[in-house]
Subunit: 455 residues, 4 copies
């Protein structure tokens, strides 16, 4: 029991301790993933690996440079300039800016050499390697996007070197710079204006406390409910008021009770944005805001509808009017991992001494959201996680920010670059793999009309 | 602050203490009510007063006898038998039973003598004196209905004696026995089958801790809300359930917050009737029941509608279905006190040494409900309170039950009989008073369609 | 039922309509108050009345001038300058400033003539006439303090003229300027530094929609509860968080349920000041703020303790820590009206054609708070309301602001001045009245240790 | 949106559909478990397998007979009689009854032949095979305990036949009949009186929709909170009441909000047992009851303490007294699966054509509780699940009851018998396995003082 003197009961570590033990056990028992596909074949793979590896210094330098100069979403100008300058030094003509997003960029590569990455359906199979480079407010690269950029650019440069050395690349590789992942959804904004047109598959890598090839990312929406009531003198004539804050409180409580009755992978968490002006006046306006997450687009839709029912039901119950605002920033759908691509990634990581775990080993509850989800339901893709920090370090902490600028981060960027280069290479080289990638995508539901999904 | 050892903080008496001081001050400053009407005139009044007073022994004996044999609503057979036997001994041919209510009774009196009380629009102005005689479960005549019966019968016998002695009664007096006031609404059941047809005014008296001529009685309705959800295993698959108990809890909380925003004379209070079967099963059915009270029919209607909005809004918010049951027992409307009649009552009580207070002196918060309310909005009426107990004794307590069988109760019954007899006499004797009674009734809204009021 | 199209159910006027009818009935039946005391005697009263009345133009001009230049609490420099200039023109040496409050002022008057109002226990019986002059933010003199000032100054000048004309004032009259009543508690700040030392009684007048001699003012406190929890990522590891907003919501709901179980004159109303920063972070800090009101110091204390129990109980229930801040601005106790003084006021108002109603006529639910409450439990006092606007106009509205600058406001200021002058005169002139005033004060609880009341 | 006409929104199957797809994928990718231990060696294993298999008809008949005559907890007399009669026919002298539990039974087997199963520390390594045989109210063997009994008895008889045929059993096998698992905790009652003394390991098998060797079972406690308030007339003097139902509702809401902040494997679900008597009386007593579950004893303890804080905090907040009753029936701890034993089970099931899945494949959310948990933290043990029904059929349904009496049930009983016989045999035969079993048990926390765990 707590009291005035001793303060609240300390937060128990029992769950995390038990979870850590379970995870350790599962990791120890884990059998590395295998792939039934040949990919590009051993010799070609080795050539590209070596070509990518040879760029190690550039990769590390790029990752450290971006890390040292964090820029928030939509303002990543310096980061983009550094990247495109590096590309330019290799003779790669990147195109910066895409519609309203002036910190997006593109570059392309075929057997004919580098190009500006403009969408082109006539260049054969096309795989995109995605680079993120935005940072968080206050805590910089605490999500390690500097490493995402370094690995993606490193992979592209490795393939470029291999092509220059004679590799007959049977298709096209794009390097796509996608800004504004944190607190926003740059990839969705880009997708709606054709950024991923003529792309057949998309791959990227993200730092983490573990190596995992298919860690779950939840879909995420945002709901703001403003209740409009009627002001009145709270002491003299409260019976003439309709209390918007009462509505917010009941809404919040209804959400609290709802949590028992949603799937375990659903999440709703909220804050009160407006809660009245002065105690002596019945609040005529009050606002609550929620993040709404789920592991599946269909369950996210169902959860959204239940939140709408709550918003409207509470308005009826309190004599107020509910104004609902969905997704002031574009929503993110859950990441759909393409199995055959994931297995190629895992095979290549294993060769580097990293065992990329499959789902069910690392705790799935450690679930956040990413705008790559929206890409992954438009075209096949993977978003593997690569170990940068010890397991107990969470993303979005100062500890992770330090790891993203450490030697472990450097190593992850290089291994990430090799993994991306080889997976892209396999995809373009192996028609049977491409077919399997397509079937897996169709089996998982095929292409989703993202923009209209919740209408 | 409370704790495990000391138990909860004691309930403060500060409010009641302050209220008592205020009431004492107001009583001390109170100017007795006066009436601008002559009524029956001094001589006639004195004759009827004496005729009623002469029945003191019968009145006291009747009150004590009913008190000693309490009978609950609809089962007041012995009480009715005692009363009609007494009437019979005076040659008054009471008619027992009215439609389905076999413990109702009627008797009549005109200048021609007693009759069986059958409705008759051709006997001139008609005033009814109402008798209640049902008791409470377990605690007997803790609402003092034995005294209501004794006073009503005593008044009727007093007038009967006066007529026998030559009084030219200019109209008709009815003695109406109305059962089942407690926990039910006998008068409403009777009214719907014509029991009060051809009655121009209705008067009765009720015991209390004070003499008050117009103490407020709130209107009262009853609402039962059953929520229907969906059962599921509460541990393995709660996400397949819709929790009816969640709905009940949110409904109860919404009512809690509503209380800040209803008029101060409104009341809602509830219990949970059904709250689930076993913790391991998500409750598919749960029920909450409320009493809903207000000082005015219109505010009671508004309050009812707000409770319906809550019931339905919470169903929407919880994905359940709300089943609403209003008034399994007929509702009661607030008592509408007729001003001119009340003043006559007050004048006659003052002559007996009792100052009948007007509203605003005795705390109005001590508010209950009565089925006389439904009579008082059909025809003009009064329902004065007469002091039987000390002020601090509440109705429906064992202490009040004792007072209703004490010498103070006897005195109240006799004074009540005199007051009822003289007020009835005035009403029939004074056309100007009758006109004023009618105008006051119309000014207060006129006759209400009770049965259809909330449709 | 409401819906998306039609919007919420309209707010019913049924209660206010019924209340209006009841109030009209009670006003019509009201018998004007009388006083058993002689006061100053008819001739003296008439002299002072005429002397005050002769200042009509000054009174009206002062009220209009302050009205035209509203100044908020603690910044009433221009208003004070106008008043003291007027006093100065009559040779009255007012002293401006008192400790930290530089918009307080004082002036005195004895049979020897005017003085600077410094506290002096040796000048015989002393009665203070209080002037307020602060305005509200945005809506100016919507509480009519310009009229309070005009009436107080007018009364003092009337008495000054009478003394100049030979009145043998048997004691001392003080004119005390008390700033910062709105949103603060200037009188309490003054009282704690001796401003009311050597004062035997205090009187003032306040505008309203009715003439009422003892309208209730509730005591008021302010409670801010900040809960301190533990932040955590709301999606990935909410189980590591302790949610301060959960605590605020439960606190608010507990207050909602509490409202059923507090005396009808208690009030609690609140807002949420801080409700979390971002939905993705479990709120580690959240704040709710309440106004807490009650009609009696003892019930206000009890209510305060129950709110503390709620604050602490919810902290325990949520694993958070509650930080309670009481009364950042000094609290106000309820106004204790002195009966004998009130009756003198009523008698003098009746002579002016105004019937000052007693409690129980005007609806007591229309209850606000004033810092005069704290004066009234230190020394005997009255705070009568004088009609300035139609009954349906509420204080703190633009409509009342207009009334306070209208001809009705002018008339109220003059009648208020006469009432204050004559009541002060009576108090000083009639030893029997003074004794009764003292007894009434003692009977009501005597002097209260205000500063330490809630410790 | 729902409405009065259309009823509530239908319950979405999206989550279960997605879960089914995921599980299918994981099953397809699952690599069967292997064991590094030799166990009893191939020839001995084959002999015992054949000896057990030869009892197929007895096993099936026993399972069907118990299924046809379901008996609830503590009343399994007929079931026990059938089992012991069968044992008797094989010359095995079972002992029926243990302290107060007269439907427990024991039998033993060593190289010397069968015995009455009395605890004996001097007979070498001892492994117990546990039989359950109680049924559910109304829905009979909807948890398939008939198959548990048939498999356990079949395993024992198989080993008995092998011993009779010359097997040198290097230790002792016990057949332990443990009644009253459903809605109670028979094994805990037995354990507290020494039933498992001198037992080194305990194994049993349970029917399910999948073959899983280590399906999680949550620990479970039961908490009843009765709040004691103060009754009062809910209309006339609610301010004199302290509302126990308010406390129950706030407690329920606090639990609702708590659910966001507990580990994902925690569960709390409740019902309202007592919610007041009549709306007109403030409830002086109200009761809420919860089941409290968690995946780990330490997290269950932490969760329990948080519920106590809620119970007490809400009492403080409502001015009531909380009476807490924990575990009227003994609690169950989570099942701790012994890894080396589980792997032996899996190996033997694989040989029978059943792939026993490991954790992380079958959804762990489908989590119930069992009293075997309390055994499994006293001595090493396994509680594998064996497929009896299709995956979508839940335990405790009429559909599962049918499956438990079907040919699929028969097959599961025989395969279960073989698995238990061989796992017991391995344990006794292989000292290296026994050492590993012990180490695994110690690594998982060693023996727990169950009875005193929550003190």
């Amino acid at each position: 029991m707590t009291d005035g003197t001793g303060g609240p009961r300390p937060i128990s570590t029992a769950f995390l301790d038990a979870l850590g033990r379970t995870t350790d056990r599962k990791r120890a028992a884990f059998t590395p993933l295998d792939s039934p596909f040949a990919g590009a074949g051993a010799a070609t793979v080795e050539a590209v690996r070596a070509a990518t590896e040879s760029g190690r210094e550039e990769i590390v330098a790029l990752g450290r440079e971006i890390h040292a100069h964090p820029e928030e979403a939509f303002r990543e100008h310096r980061s983009v300039a550094i990247i495109t300058a590096l590309l330019g030094r290799h003779g790669i003509p990147a195109a910066v800016g895409w519609h309203d997003l002036d910190t997006a960029f593109r570059a392309g590569l075929t057997a004919e050499g580098p190009d500006d990455g403009a969408p082109d359906p006539d260049r054969g199979p096309t795989v995109a390697i995605l680079a993120e480079y935005d940072a968080l407010p206050q805590i910089g690269h605490a999500c390690g996007h500097n490493l995402i950029a370094a690995a993606a650019v490193g992979a592209f440069l490795g393939l470029h070197r291999a092509v220059a050395a004679g590799l007959r690349l049977p298709g096209r590789v794009l390097l796509l710079g996608t800004p504004a992942e944190e607190g926003n959804s740059g990839k969705e904004i880009l997708a709606r204006t054709g950024f991923f047109d003529a792309v057949d598959a998309a791959i990227m890598v993200h730092g983490f406390g573990y190596d995992v090839v298919d860690h779950p990312f939840l879909g995420r929406r945002q709901l703001r409910v403003t209740y409009h009531g009627t002001a009145a003198h709270a002491s003299a004539s409260p019976f003439l008021g309709r209390n918007a804050l009462d509505a917010v409180v009941l809404n919040y409580q209804a959400i609290g009770l709802l949590r028992q009755h949603i799937p375990p992978s659903d999440r709703v968490h909220g804050i009160v944005l407006e809660g009245g002006d002065r105690p002596s006046v019945v609040p005529e306006r009050a606002t609550v805001e929620y993040y709404v997450r789920s592991a599946d687009p269909a369950t996210l839709k169902d959860l959204s509808e239940r939140l709408e029912d709550i918003a409207r039901g509470i308005a009826l119950a309190t004599g107020t009017r509910a104004e609902l605002t969905w997704d002031p920033v574009p929503f993110s759908l859950p990441v759909r991992t393409n199995g055959p691509l994931a297995a190629r990634w895992a095979v290549h990581q294993e060769a580097l001494g990293r065992t990329a775990l499959a789902g069910g080993v690392v705790p799935e509850i450690l679930a956040a959201s990413t705008d790559f989800g929206n890409v992954s339901v438009r075209i096949p893709g993977i978003h593997p996680m690569i170990a940068v920090s010890p397991p107990e370090v969470a993303l979005h902490t100062r500890e992770f920010e330090a790891a993203a600028g450490s030697a472990a981060g450097d190593a992850a960027a290089v291994h990430g670059a090799i993994g991306l280069a080889l997976t892209a290479l396999d995809y373009l080289s192996d028609p049977a793999l491409r077919s399997a990638v397509g079937r897996d995508f169709v089996d998982a539901g095929g292409a989703v009309d993202v923009a209209g999904y919740f209408d």
